[in-house]
Amino acid sequence: MQGELEIMVPVTSKRLAGLSVTSFKCLLVTMMLIFVSAPQSDAANQAYKRSIERYTMPDVTLINQDGKKVKFKSVMESDKLVVVDFIFGTCTTICPVLSAGYLNLQQKLGTESGKVHLVSISIDPENDTPKVMKEYLKRYRAKPGWDFLTGSRKDIDAVMKAFNAYVPDKMSHYALTLLRPPQQDGRWIRIFGIMSSAEFVDEAQKSGIR
């Protein structure tokens, strides 16, 4: 495995300089972060973890960037390829990279991008109002087919739990992308880590765009 995966160890402090003096684990993480010196991987050597999972979707109503109510379960049961990630509007590091991935996917797929429904789910629902979400999508030049959903804390928690992605606090979230092939058999591809553009297109195509 590459260093990129191994650095994803939970740490509590929000700043690198702030790592505890006494905590060996934190120290180790610091060392790893600073000394990431893994040789460049070639395309065949994936830097993310991939697994096949089965999830049951909760029957909740969320709000999209236009302020419209949407039935989450039916969005997830679309006959398109559905891609889900968890982000928030003022996120500093991981969400912008995930969103750049969405944007790149839409661009790379070109006319085919209409066959994919990209869904970003807010993990900071108090702040992510429709207005904030709309501005966020605009900033990322999102094309139609990319929705940002918010909702009550209770419903968002239910969605996170359904994907085995629950984090009690938004600051401790991690990079996760979930793809649901259109065959409707409840199978999800769970991607932990960040994909390159080529890898994302490849995963989308393998999942079946139709």
Partner: protein, 554 residues
């Protein structure tokens, strides 16, 4: 392979670019342009700075800039389990050490001694920094993690960005020495002596506790490690009282005078019954953090940086009412009549309502503003109600506006009314019992039954010295400020930069504090608690408060 080649190509461009001649820019101009690249991702020609992450994911820095990950002050962040190291001048242009060595070095330096510690990386130079930005390699030749963008920067732009980083958080902000940290609190002369004491009691307790911790190190059981940390960290906290007198137009110059006489690192809370605008503007322009003043009339802005508020106050109540009404499904278009008492409170409620109502894309709002005498124009209101029949009536006024409820009930009995509990104050209980079914109230605090577990927090901080009546929540709100400030101070560590204090507070996990539900943070988020309940009243003279909405209404 492709990525390697790309990196090498970029490295070549970067190095050759820096070797070329560059035009000399005015220093201030260069800083402005550098700040724009760093914060907004815009190059001097107005085009976005571009780069690549994970090898081939193209990014445009107007989506996320350097400041996004490395923070505005440049001291870095850890988020989403990814660490973005410090990129401020003081960090980049000095060798990087392990944290424990950084502490020991600081202590040695203060004693005029130098100690040798193993470097994690050597200091950057302009050239090695340029290489890092384009090729993602540090001065040791180690490669950055793949989500650090490799930027496409040309010669002149590189020079501007490098110059900016060199100056970014290079010297500590004013108000801090190796001995003391100087703060102020702002109190305006409309505040009663009791309310003033409720605020200063908490601040005095903070100062006392700070002094007491200095004594701890004399204790024989105070461990060597803590002594070491204490030597590096401890500073006496002083809190000046900036008392503002006379008309609000003169407050700004009074503030400037205070600041000239004694520059402070930050403003710790404060209190005013009037709009916080003059204090907000002063802090914004002098780049002084102002933490959670006790005000319900904050400045509503999505671009201001320096003042953090507990909530949007009255404005947030107005917004909540709009969202609550817009979520009710009806077949007919909604007709809204807004009756506004022309006070800062009434106007803030109306303005919050109008903004959120417009956002919801619903119909027009008819607004009736009372005259300066605040007399209720009964015939005009009856006429308006008679003309358009049942509707929703917003009564943005204090107890003196309660007679409007009777008029509405008499003229258009199927109408609902909305009021602000904060504005009504004790008048809340005077809402006639027979009208309560039709009256909805914005309630900006945690439900009384849930608030019980927070009682005693503020008293704890005051260590029993003063027990104030906390009906106005001044002590408890100031306590919350102190709590967030101390958490921020802890995370700020030895990086005494004002922007860093705000950066680290922006990265705090959610906090559960008295008065308001869930304080949540995020870079640039300036109103910590985002919600407000909509409630109705039960029967009787001491009515039950019945929750009709979630804390956050979408």
């Amino acid at each position: 392979m492709k990525r390697c080649f790309f990196g090498m190509l970029l490295m070549t461009i970067g190095v050759s670019a820096l070797a070329a001649d560059v035009s000399v820019l005015d220093r201030a101009e260069s800083m402005v342009l550098g700040e724009r690249i760093y914060r907004d991702g815009l190059l001097p020609d107005g085009k976005p700075l571009k780069g690549y992450v994970r090898g081939d994911v193209e990014i445009d820095s107007t989506m996320f800039s350097c400041a996004n990950c490395h923070s505005r002050g440049g001291l870095g962040s850890i988020e989403g389990q990814v660490a973005s190291p410090p990129v401020n001048g003081a960090s980049l242009y000095n060798p990087r050490y392990l944290y424990k060595d950084q502490i020991k070095n600081t202590i040695s330096k203060s004693r005029g001694v130098s100690r040798s510690a193993k470097q994690l990386r050597p200091a950057y130079t302009d050239e090695s920094l340029a290489t890092a930005l384009v090729a993602g390699v540090n001065p040791d030749g180690r490669e950055f993690i793949p989500i650090m963008p490799r930027y496409m920067l040309e010669e002149r732009d590189m020079k501007i960005l490098v110059n900016y980083l060199k100056q970014l958080s290079a010297e500590f902000s004013p108000g801090v020495t190796s001995e003391i940290m100087r703060f102020a609190t702002i109190i305006t002369d409309d505040v009663s002596p009791e309310d003033r004491a409720a605020l200063t009691g908490i601040l005095d307790a903070l100062v006392t506790i700070n002094q007491q911790t200095r004594e701890q190190r004399k204790h024989p059981q105070f461990s060597k490690m803590f002594r070491m940390l204490d030597t590096a960290y401890f500073r006496y906290i002083t809190i000046d009282r900036w008392e503002l007198k006379g008309p609000p137009e003169t407050w700004r110059s009074q503030l400037e005078d205070y600041y000239r006489k004694g520059p402070v690192f930050a403003v710790l809370g404060g209190i005013s019954g009037k709009s916080w605008q003059p204090m907000h503007d002063f802090c914004e322009q002098n780049r002084i953090p102002c933490l959670f003043p006790v005000t319900d009339l904050p400045v509503i802005s999505d671009s201001s940086w320096y003042t953090m508020y507990a909530s949007k106050g009255y404005y947030q109540e107005g917004e909540t009412a709009a969202r609550f009404i817009s979520r009710v499904e009806t077949t007919e278009p909604k007709r809204i009549l807004q009756i506004v008492t022309p006070t800062p409170e009434g106007e803030a409620l109306a303005s919050g309502f109008e903004s959120a109502w417009k956002e919801s894309g619903q119909g027009q709002v008819e607004t009736l503003r009372l005259g300066p005498d605040q007399k209720i124009p009964e015939s005009e209101i009856r006429e308006l109600l008679r003309k358009s029949g049942p509707r929703t009536v917003l009564v943005w006024g204090g107890p003196e506006s309660l007679p409007v409820l009777e008029m509405v009930a008499g003229q258009a009995p199927d109408s609902d009314c909305f009021l602000s509990s904060r504005y009504l104050g004790k008048g809340l209980k005077s809402i006639p019992e027979n009208l309560r079914d039709r009256v909805y109230i914005t309630y900006p605090f945690r439900m009384p039954e849930d608030e019980k577990r927070f009682e005693g927090y503020a008293e704890l901080l005051q260590l029993g010295n003063h027990v104030h009546n906390n009906e106005k929540r001044i002590g408890s709100r100031t306590f919350s400020m102190v709590h967030v400030f101390l958490e921020g101070l802890k995370e700020m560590r030895l990086d005494f930069y004002r922007d860093t204090l705000l950066d680290v507070i922006g990265m705090m996990p959610d906090q559960y504090l008295p008065d308001f539900e869930r304080y949540s943070f995020g870079p640039g988020q300036r109103y910590a608690s985002k919600g407000c309940y909509v409630v109705q009243l039960g029967k009787g003279t001491n009515p039950e408060i019945i929750k009709k909405s979630d804390w956050v209404v979408f």
